[in-house]
Subunit: 387 residues, 2 copies
């Protein structure tokens, strides 16, 4: 074990409906930016991990590791695709981290990519149900908006969470997205606009839902020795953890709590030797606005059931006590599912380098990224810091 | 780094058209067998890696790590799907190996699974083309039989390889499959039968082609310390390596050579500190009979261009100098693509334990497994041994 692992380079594409760019264009663009940012050459790279959820169903393409190695001019190197539904990106980051920790490699690229807008919205909705339980959810007609709607209803019932509180998540995400040049939706929305938007799955409305997106992101990871040699501003991975839960929502102990997040967070804080209150900012998985509330509760930024009130009080805003989703989150920035976990790492790195521009969290030195697959069957957490 | 990593448990299902068993049934069955074989409990397992190529296209199911954790009763543990087309299984084995080497886990299950026969053969053929280049091969109408046919023709042209030699691969595979109770095709075929079988893609005929299959396999890996504590017959992973090549065949330097295999083999032998002649038996990726010839050449068991003659001379038979595919290979045993790499590890473990029954290679102490994605864009190699 070679000590710590650092992020020494980051790259990201714009997120949106990018009909003029292919899947392979997006990921090679993000990867090239990351390599340039790291100040290394392609030949320095010893391995490649790519997170992508459903390129087979979206584009008829599997064998993603080799595809990306080939089109990045890195032919020959070890290249692996990692999948865990919408948590695929963070799982790729984690596998790259473990590969360096194993001592087998010193410099590894972790990327994430999805191209979701070349198919119809209904086809995409069914494809995304690959993240749920095919037999018990998909086949019965469930979709993710309806599954998260059940979680929202239950949270409202148990804790008195209001639709205004849930809507405030989206308002904040759009506020932050305005400050992110790569965001899919860089415009503000009012609480009233969110609450009057089209009903999708009661109580969730259009502006509570993250979009279908195309996009990619990549980070270069290095062993401690290489990071110190190559980088002036390494961002260290202080902890990496992941946990699972039942695939289908109805099998869970609770509909209003995300137990995989609670479990993964506990492991991550223990590994890092810190408490939730030590975290200065976080990127969390707000695929639907209720999911952000479940996330900040599961991560211990407030008690279970208090996430709505924390949001309403402004604590999670850019200038609040614990800024959440400074990037605009999945709602404002976009959600090309395989790319999302890596995009979170890019945002956290910008914050920790002090390079986040108008959305900079002042003096940020310790942040957390949180990526979820499905309705919570997978959670992946990384805690990042600067010395 | 905690020293060596061992296989301490193995499990495999029958391979074939298993219409009465679901995807999730197959992998949990294989996993349960492996856990029982290892003599451990589910709670001992710290992580799960599952190789599967196209469950999204075959069954509408992604998020495979969480699915398997859930249906195996291992809810909570880290669970990741790994994909590299038909090399997905071996890549899962490799990631499990790296996870243990990283020091983060001590006992990890690596599984592989595919369910390919619930769809039409034409749908399956297009799905499998996800392993090729969607834009340059699939979209233009190429299929894997036609791609491997090009490689066969070129090999015949360059090296004088005959169709009889290529056919002898299939004859041998079926001979060995007769001795494997899990094989899909446990019957003999004659050279004449192979050469008169239906033409699929000239010069390849039906009996040169591995089938569509359902099946799963799993192995339990443990750190050196845990392996010595738990196992009476650990099989050690002496080297793990992988390499890539261009995704599309036409971009390669040569059509009659598998450069990713040559590269990965070179790295594996170097790590292990051995020569090809030290290997006593191997399971190689014979998705088409020509592929076995390319494999044994790339692995250095004979010179480039000599694989046909090596096969014809009987050197690769069960009682030959270097027995290849004692399991029956992909041709005789079946080829549920994501399961294949793990099934190879199961076979090698049986051989090294001396538990291979009628297909036992006498006194086997050092074996190699070789798994390919697509037409050779990914190769994964593991060298296994007993003390």
């Amino acid at each position: 074990m070679s000590g710590r692992v650092a992020i020494i380079g980051i790259g990201i594409t714009e997120f949106g409906e990018l009909w003029d760019q292919r899947y392979r264009d997006l990921i090679t663009k993000a990867g090239t930016k990351a390599i340039i940012d790291a100040g290394i050459e392609g030949e320095d790279i010893e391995g490649l991990y790519i997170g992508s959820m459903s390129p087979g169903l979206f584009s008829g393409q599997e064998h993603i590791g080799a595809l990306v190695a080939d089109y990045s001019g890195l032919i020959g190197i070890p290249a692996v695709r990692v999948e865990g539904a919408c948590a695929s990106g963070s799982l790729a980051l984690r596998e790259a981290y473990l590969a360096i920790k194993s001592g087998e490699m010193d410099i590894v690229v972790a990327g994430g990519v999805e191209k979701m807008t070349d198919v119809s919205a209904s086809y995409a909705t069914v494809t995304l149900m690959g993240a749920g339980d095919q037999e018990w959810e998909t086949f019965k007609g469930a979709t993710f908006p309806s599954i998260y709607a059940l979680m929202a209803r239950r949270h409202m019932f148990e804790y008195g969470t209001t639709i205004e509180q849930i809507s405030q998540v989206a308002v904040k995400s759009h506020d932050n997205a305005c400050l992110n040049p790569n965001a899919q939706f860089p415009f503000r929305v009012t609480l009233d606009q969110v609450m009057r938007s089209s009903l999708i799955a009661d109580p969730l409305r259009l502006l509570h839902c993250s979009p279908l997106s195309d996009g990619a992101a990549a980070v270069v990871l290095a062993s401690e020795e290489k990071a110190k040699e190559l980088s002036k501003n390494p961002v260290w991975i202080r902890a990496s953890s992941t946990a699972t839960d039942t695939l289908a929502l109805h099998d869970r102990k609770s509909l209003s709590r995300m137990d995989s997040t609670i479990l993964a967070a506990g492991k991550a804080y223990k590994k890092a030797g810190i408490k939730p209150k030590d975290i200065e900012f976080a990127e969390v998985h707000d695929c639907f606005s209720i999911a952000e509330i479940l996330a900040i509760e599961g991560l211990g930024f407030c008690g279970i059931g208090e996430g709505g009130r924390l949001t309403e009080g402004g604590d999670t805003a850019l200038d609040g006590r614990i800024p959440i989703n400074t990037s605009g989150g999945l709602k404002g920035k976009g959600h090309p599912v395989g790319a999302t976990g890596i995009a979170q790492a890019v945002e956290a790195t910008l914050q920790l380098r002090g390079d986040a521009g108008k959305r900079q969290v002042k003096d940020a030195r310790l942040g957390l990224i949180h990526n979820v697959g499905g309705s919570g069957a997978t959670t992946v957490i990384h805690i990042l810091e600067v010395d």
